[in-house]
Symmetry: C2
Subunit: 326 residues, 2 copies
């Protein structure tokens, strides 16, 4: 089933929705995802009801520069995972903007083949302006999908920047996709994605330069500090399903390694730390933005622009009692 | 002059450094940039000393997918701006990582031609793990460069994700670079960069597909909501300097329009709001991360992972007294 964000929820209470989601009812899953995206009091109710969930599904993050074929690869992975009977969730983490909305929806058409499959939950998550940002909403959405019985959740990012890297780095297994001739490894290194990869995929590997891209990546992996997990560099042509079985095998192998080594537990704790912090920061941001009167944020900002106040002094006025770190 | 981050500062006090920076002394500018990057008490001293600065330099943000030639374009812009006698600052906003460090430095070699020029200040800013992130450190660095007499400051991002878009969107003028055959407009739209562009540049315009890329962009601009500023779509071959004069002219035109229309003032206030908020959030984060004992963040995160606590309840324990927004 395929559900878009922003849905108004009325009617059934959270406990009932959770029970129905646990039974795998797509509509209930979609409504819970809407509630965690919206946050606030009902988001909190969902979190409370799902505190016990999470940890079952294998969370796989996919990132890489625009144009490498992330959506196509995600869709091919869904097909392969469904073929072996896994239930699959897909979170497509998109920058939210009215302007790009059309393009996004168009692209999601690729996932249409899975839209009617009751064993697949697909969700586009808006992030710009999102309360708590990616770090806040993503873990809650993971818990919903976990409760719904997903064996694997794929988180696909659209951009490739700091926020996106931060999110996929918190997955159990992070896949970094590249394509030949797209600026190659050095450009990806610049985006900071190389060091978060558990698995590299050179997609569109039927194009010129694939062998060189693989060689470059292997060289770069050799340069960096790595743990005991040996990062594989795979080749795929996702649009034809080539190499996808090998990718699934690599994901399984990493899951097994990270379960045994304690790495998965370590990342889950890091994810929870980021999540708690996001809740606190979201609350603080709301308090700051809601402040009215002479000490309100817009007024303070104008005084900073006018040179009457430096931003630290403005922060003192806005939220007294917090000291400078360091 | 070219200065790398992380320098230890000892010796001269902030007031002396500020006086020397105002006289254009490169070493003093570099030290002040180190202080604002490090934050803390001395960062605050710098902010206080520079409260009056900012607003003179024209702040130009450059973003776009990896591989479109942002560094080459930045370097070509510096040359063109120097040729007409402008003092120029360059902030290259990079994800900080030991793994990608080598690649980054290699790439900065392109800027080497400007390294000995006393009218050019170049700085790579680390962002990962940065206190306050991009929104916190960038405006302070802008103030330092303003005080040093820069007429134009170019902010070049490396990734193209949410954080990067947020930063360049706060520039006086935002340039979005694309290149033919790099996934084109739709892919850029997915990264959320289209709607923040004041000027589009199709770089590497001597390649196949440039005309199509320009046409696509013009079509997409037509679809979106635009103000009275007519977003130009330029073609450049930055590596040969082609189209760079036209780009400089477009930057000047946008500066003039935004000064006259109040748009520049509006963005400066938004930048100051983000900056004040970043100071407050940084302080709160530090308090959270420094909390010890049973209610410390790592302990709470473990309890969330164990299912004993939901993240909202954990946030209550960590920082009581903040209510849920909404």
């Amino acid at each position: 089933m395929c559900e878009k964000g922003g849905e108004r929820v009325t009617g059934p209470d959270v406990a009932e929705l959770v029970a129905r989601a646990r039974a795998g009812e797509p509509l209930a899953v979609g409504r819970l995802l809407s509630l965690v995206e919206a946050g606030g009091a009902r988001g909190r109710q969902v979190a409370s009801a799902l505190a016990d969930d999470g940890g079952r599904a294998h969370v796989v993050g996919l990132t890489g520069p625009p144009g490498v074929g992330k959506s196509t690869t995600t869709s091919a992975l869904v097909a392969a995972l469904r073929a072996r009977g896994s239930r699959v969730g897909v979170l497509a983490v998109d920058p939210s903007s009215p302007f790009s909305g059309g393009a996004l929806l168009g692209d999601r058409v690729r996932m249409a083949e899975h839209a009617e499959d009751p064993g697949v939950f697909i969700r586009s998550m808006a992030t710009r302006g999102q309360l708590g940002g990616l770090a806040g909403a993503t873990p809650q959405a993971l818990r919903v999908l976990d409760a719904a019985g997903c064996d694997v959740v794929l988180i696909e990012t659209v951009g490739v920047g700091q926020s996106e890297v931060d999110v996929v780095a918190l997955a159990d297994t992070t896949v970094v996709l590249l394509a030949p001739g797209m600026g190659d490894g050095v450009q990806a290194a610049k985006a900071g994605v190389l060091e978060v990869a558990d698995v590299f995929v050179v997609n569109k590997a039927d194009r010129d330069g694939a062998t060189q891209a693989v060689r470059e990546l292997r060289h770069m992996i050799g340069l960096g500090e790595r743990g005991e997990w040996r990062v594989p560099v795979l080749r795929t042509v996702a649009s034809r399903g080539e190499g996808v079985a090998e990718l699934v095998a690599a994901l399984d192998a990493h899951r097994q390694w990270s379960d045994g080594s304690g790495e998965r537990e370590r990342r889950r704790v890091a994810r929870a730390e980021a999540e708690i912090e996001a809740v606190v920061v979201t609350r603080l941001r709301a308090r700051i933005r809601d402040a009215h009167g002479a000490a309100g944020l817009p007024d303070l900002a104008k005084r900073v622009v006018a040179g009457e106040l430096d931003p630290y002094a403005a922060a003192d006025e806005l939220q007294p009692g917090l000291a400078e770190p360091g």
